[in-house]
Amino acid sequence: MSEEDYTTKITREDACLNRTADDDEDDDEGEEITAQKVLEFLETAWTNEMCAPDILQHQSDMLELMMGQLAHMEENMKDLDKNDFRFVVHQMELERIRYVMASYLRCRLQKIETYTKHLLNEESTRSAEEKRLSPEETKFAQEYYENMEECFQQIALQYMPNTQRSEADQRIVRPNLMSHVFVKANVSVPAVVVGVDDEEVDLAAGSQHIIPYQLIADLIQKHQVQLI
C-alpha cells in the first residue's frame, strides 16, 4: 500500500513541479498535447495497471512522447548551474518520471510473465487496433513462453509417458477478473450493471466504489473511470 500512498503524493507534487518546467520550455510545445498532459496520462495508466488484475492497453505512444520529452529536458538542463535550485528540482522531477515509467513497464512485464499463454491466446483473437500488448511485449511473451516450455520439456516432460506430454493447455494461468478493485468515476456513468441480477448502479462523477474488475473493465478503457 505504501507505493499507493506515494502515487498520490507524487502526482500532486509533480503537477506543480511540472508547471514550472513547462514555463521554462514554452517554446518547444507547439503540439496540442503538453508534457504535463502526457505525464498525467501516464500516471493514470500506471495506477490503473498496478490495480487491475488483467493487463490493460499498452501506451507505447505516450511512453515514447515522454521519453523524448525527458531527453529534451535533460538537454536543456545542461546549461543550468549544478547548484542552482532549479537544477535540483528538475533533476528530481526527471528521476521521478523515470521511476513511474520503469515501474509501469515492470508491472506489465510481471503480468506478462504470470499469464503468458493466456495473454498470447487472447491477443491472437484481437484485431490489430485492439491489441493490448505492444509488438515488443508480444515478442517478449512469446520468447518467454517458449523458453519455459523448453525447460520443462528438457527436464521432465520428455521422460513422461506419451499421453502426459501434450497437456500444456492445463497449465494456463488466468487472472481472476472478478477480483474487486477500487474505482473512481471521472465522469458520471449511468446504469452500470453490477451483480448477477442485472442490478444497475449510477456512478456519479468523482464518486468511489469497490466493484469486481470485469464489470467496469470497459469503462477503464474509455477513461470514464480510473482505478485507485
Binding site: E3, Y6, I10, S60, L63, E64, M67, G68, A71, V88, Q91, M92, E95, R96, R98, Y99, M101, A102, S103, L105, R106, L109, E113, E136, E137, K139, F140, E143, Y144, N147, M148, E150, C151, F152, Q154, I155, A156, Y159, M160, P161, Q164, R171
Partner: protein, 200 residues
C-alpha cells in the same frame, strides 16, 4: 509401490515443500528427487496400461476405480513436479533482476543445465525488450526499483572497486571503507551488486 506407509506422489510433494522452505537464493537442483518422481510416474503408467488392457479384454468393472485412482496420482505427480520446476524458474528470473546478466559462480553450481539455458535466454530476451522500448530509445527497467527520495545518497565502499567515472566525467576512486556522496541513479547498480553500501 509396495512400501506400506508411502503414498503416491509423496516424493513430488516433498520437492515442492523443500523448495518452499529453503531460504537460500536458490537451493541445489534435486536431480535425484526429480528422477524418482519420473520413475514413479512411469511405474504407475505401466501398471495402469497393463490393467487397462486387462479391463478391455475382461470387461471387469471393478478395475475402474483403481484405474481412475492411479490416473489421479499420476496427474498429481506431474503437477507437483512441474510446479517445482516453475517455482525454481521464478527464482532464476529474480536472479536476472538482482545480479544482471551473469550468474554468480556459487549460485550457478545449484542450477541444472536446462535452467542455465533458460536463464541465458531469459536474460537475452529481457535485454532486447528493454532496448526496444520507446522506438529504440530503451529503458533499463532493472534500475529505478524504488521511488526516488533524494538525488544523492551517502554510500560506503565495502570492497576495493577502483576508478569509477560519473556521467559528468568526474572520476572518483572507490576504495574500501571510504565514504562518498553520489548521485543515486548512477551508483544504484553498484549498491545492488554489494560493492557499495547505502548508509541511511
Amino acid at each position: 509401490m509396495s512400501k506400506s506407509n508411502k503414498m503416491f506422489a509423496d516424493k513430488a510433494f516433498e520437492l515442492v515443500k523443500e523448495l518452499q522452505r529453503s531460504s537460500q537464493t536458490i537451493p541445489p537442483f534435486d536431480d535425484d528427487g526429480v528422477r524418482q518422481v519420473l520413475e514413479e510416474i512411469k511405474a504407475i503408467f505401466e501398471e495402469n496400461c497393463a490393467q487397462a488392457a486387462n479391463y478391455s479384454t475382461s470387461g471387469d468393472r471393478t478395475l475402474w476405480p483403481l484405474l481412475n485412482f492411479r490416473h489421479a496420482a499420476l496427474q498429481r505427480n506431474k503437477r507437483c513436479l512441474l510446479s517445482y520446476l516453475h517455482q525454481r524458474l521464478q527464482r532464476i528470473k529474480a536472479l536476472r533482476w538482482e545480479f544482471g546478466s551473469i550468474i554468480p559462480a556459487d549460485i550457478k553450481t545449484n542450477l541444472c543445465e536446462p535452467e542455465v539455458t533458460f536463464f541465458n535466454k531469459y536474460s537475452k530476451s529481457l535485454a532486447s525488450y528493454m532496448r526496444s522500448i520507446g522506438d529504440g530509445q530503451g529503458i533499463d527497467l532493472t534500475g529505478d526499483l524504488r521511488p526516488p527520495k533524494s538525488l544523492y545518497i551517502e554510500v560506503r565502499c565495502v570492497e576495493d572497486f577502483g576508478k569509477f567515472e560519473l556521467e559528468d566525467g568526474e572520476v572518483i576512486y572507490l576504495k574500501k571503507n571510504s565514504q562518498h556522496y553520489l548521485p543515486r541513479s548512477q551508483v544504484e547498480t553498484l549498491v545492488r551488486q554489494g560493492i557499495l553500501q547505502h548508509i541511511v
